[in-house]
C-alpha cells in the first residue's frame, strides 16, 4: 500500500485496484479526513481496510464542508531512483544459497514514480495501482520478473515497483514467454483466504492465465501468513518431485511455477483452475458421504 499526497489537501490511498480519495480537513479542534463515498473498498484487502478504518476513526459526526477538486493543483512529485538492476552482492548463482533480505538491493522498498502533473484530469480510472518487480532463479538462470496489478494499458511512468527474490529452494520453471524481461500482470482479484489473496495473472507476452497467491506482510502478525505460504510452497516441491519421479501418476494439485519473496510480500504462482467447490452440497449425497469419511480419516492417519 502506498500513499500519494497531493499538496496538503488530498490524499490518495491505493491497494491493488482500489483507490480512496481523501480530503485532509484542517480543523483546529478535530482534524479529520473525508473520503469519497463513490469508491467502494469492500473488496480491498483486510489490512487496507483496517488501516483506513484506523485513520477514519479519528473524528465522528463532524460536518464536512463540500469542496471541488481543482484539476490545476500542482502535485508533489517523487523522483524515481534509477533502477540499475541487482547489485553484485545480491546475485544468486546455482552454488549459493539466498542469504536473506539485508542490504539495499532487491529488498529496497518500492519507489513511487513521479506523477505527470499535466496528465488528464482526476478520474479514478486513470489512477494506477502498484507494480512489483521480482527476480528469481529458475533452473540456474537469474531472471527478472515484473508483477503488477495495473492495467496493461496503463502509462508505465505511473507504476510503482517492488522487488522480490526467488525463494532459496525454488526449482520450478516459469512458462516460456519469449522475453528475457518477464513481467506478470495481476489482472483480476479472485479470492482471499486464511493465508492471503489470490489473483488471476498473466505474463507479459502471453494471454495464458495463471493464479498468484499473495501474502503481504504489513504487520507483525502477517508473518504467520507468510510462514503458511512458505509451508505450502514446500508441499508443492514435494508434489512436483513425486510427479516428476513417477511416484504420482497424475497431478493432484495445480502446477506450481515458483515462489518469490520480498521484504513485505511473498508470491506463489500456480496454474489457474476453473472454480472451487462452494460446499459439500455441490456433491451428491454419496459423494458427500465419502468426502466426510475421508476428512475424518485424515485425522485417523495423523494420530495413529
Amino acid at each position: 500500500m502506498y500513499l500519494g499526497l497531493r499538496k496538503t489537501e488530498w490524499l490518495f490511498l491505493t491497494c491493488f485496484n482500489y483507490w480512496i480519495v481523501c480530503r485532509l480537513v484542517s480543523d483546529d479542534d478535530n482534524p479529520f479526513l473525508a473520503y469519497s463515498p463513490a469508491i467502494s473498498i469492500e473488496e480491498s484487502s483486510e489490512p487496507f481496510r483496517a488501516f483506513l478504518g484506523a485513520i477514519m476513526s479519528v473524528a465522528k459526526d463532524v460536518r464536512v464542508e463540500s469542496s471541488a477538486y481543482n484539476p490545476n493543483i500542482i502535485l508533489d512529485t517523487i523522483e524515481e531512483e534509477q533502477d540499475d538492476g541487482p547489485l553484485p552482492e545480491h546475485d544468486i548463482d546455482e552454488g549459493s544459497e539466498y542469504q536473506g533480505s539485508s542490504g539495499s538491493g532487491a529488498d529496497t522498498p518500492p519507489k513511487t514514480r513521479g506523477r505527470d502533473r499535466h496528465s488528464r484530469g482526476n478520474t479514478e480510472s486513470e489512477l494506477l495501482v502498484h507494480t512489483f518487480l521480482g527476480r528469481y532463479r529458475s533452473h540456474g538462470s537469474l531472471i527478472h520478473l515484473q508483477v503488477t496489478s495495473s492495467s496493461p494499458k496503463s502509462p508505465e511512468n505511473l507504476q510503482v515497483w517492488t522487488r522480490l527474490h526467488s525463494m532459496s529452494d525454488n526449482s520450478f520453471a516459469i512458462p516460456r514467454c519469449g522475453n528475457d524481461k518477464l513481467r506478470l500482470w495481476f489482472t483480476r482479484f479472485i479470492a482471499s483466504g486464511s493465508t492471503g489473496s489470490v489473483w488471476q495473472c498473466r505474463f507479459d507476452t502471453s494471454y495464458d492465465s495463471f493464479a498468484a497467491k499473495i501474502v503481504e506482510v504489513l504487520r507483525p502478525s502477517d508473518t504467520e501468513s507468510r510462514q503458511r505460504l512458505r509451508n505450502e510452497f514446500k508441499i508443492y516441491l514435494i508434489l512436483d518431485e513425486a510427479y516428476q519421479s513417477g511416484r504420482l501418476r497424475d497431478r493432484i494439485a495445480p502446477r506450481c511455477y515458483g515462489a518469490f519473496e520480498g521484504s513485505d510480500m511473498d508470491v506463489l504462482i500456480l496454474d489457474l483452475c476453473d472454480s472451487i467447490l462452494n460446499s459439500w452440497g455441490d456433491l451428491s449425497a454419496s459423494e458427500r458421504y465419502v468426502a466426510e469419511i475421508m476428512s475424518d480419516n485424515c485425522s485417523y492417519i495423523d494420530h495413529t
Binding site: 493465508t195 514435494i238 504420482l248 497431478r251 472454480s275 455441490d282 492417519i301
Partner: protein, 65 residues
C-alpha cells in the same frame, strides 16, 4: 468423466501415499479443472505424516467396503 467421488478420493489417497496429509480438506480447497476433474489446493496447513504404508492400504480397503 471421472466421478467426483472417485476423483477426490484418489487425490487424497495419492497425497497420503507420498507422505503428506492435507489437514484442511474442505470444499473450498477442492478446485475443478478446465477438463472437468478435481485438484486439491491450499496446502498451507499440510505436513508430512509418518504412518506406515500398511495403514494407507488399510484405508484403501476400508473405503471400498
Amino acid at each position: 468423466m471421472i466421478s467426483c467421488r472417485s476423483d477426490v478420493y484418489k487425490l487424497v489417497q495419492a497425497l497420503h501415499s507420498i507422505g503428506v496429509v492435507h489437514e484442511d480438506l474442505e470444499p473450498r480447497n477442492i478446485v475443478r479443472t478446465h477438463g472437468g476433474g478435481f485438484l486439491l489446493i491450499d496446502f498451507s496447513e499440510s505436513r508430512k505424516h509418518v504412518c506406515k504404508e500398511s495403514k494407507v492400504q488399510y484405508m484403501d480397503t476400508w473405503f471400498y467396503e
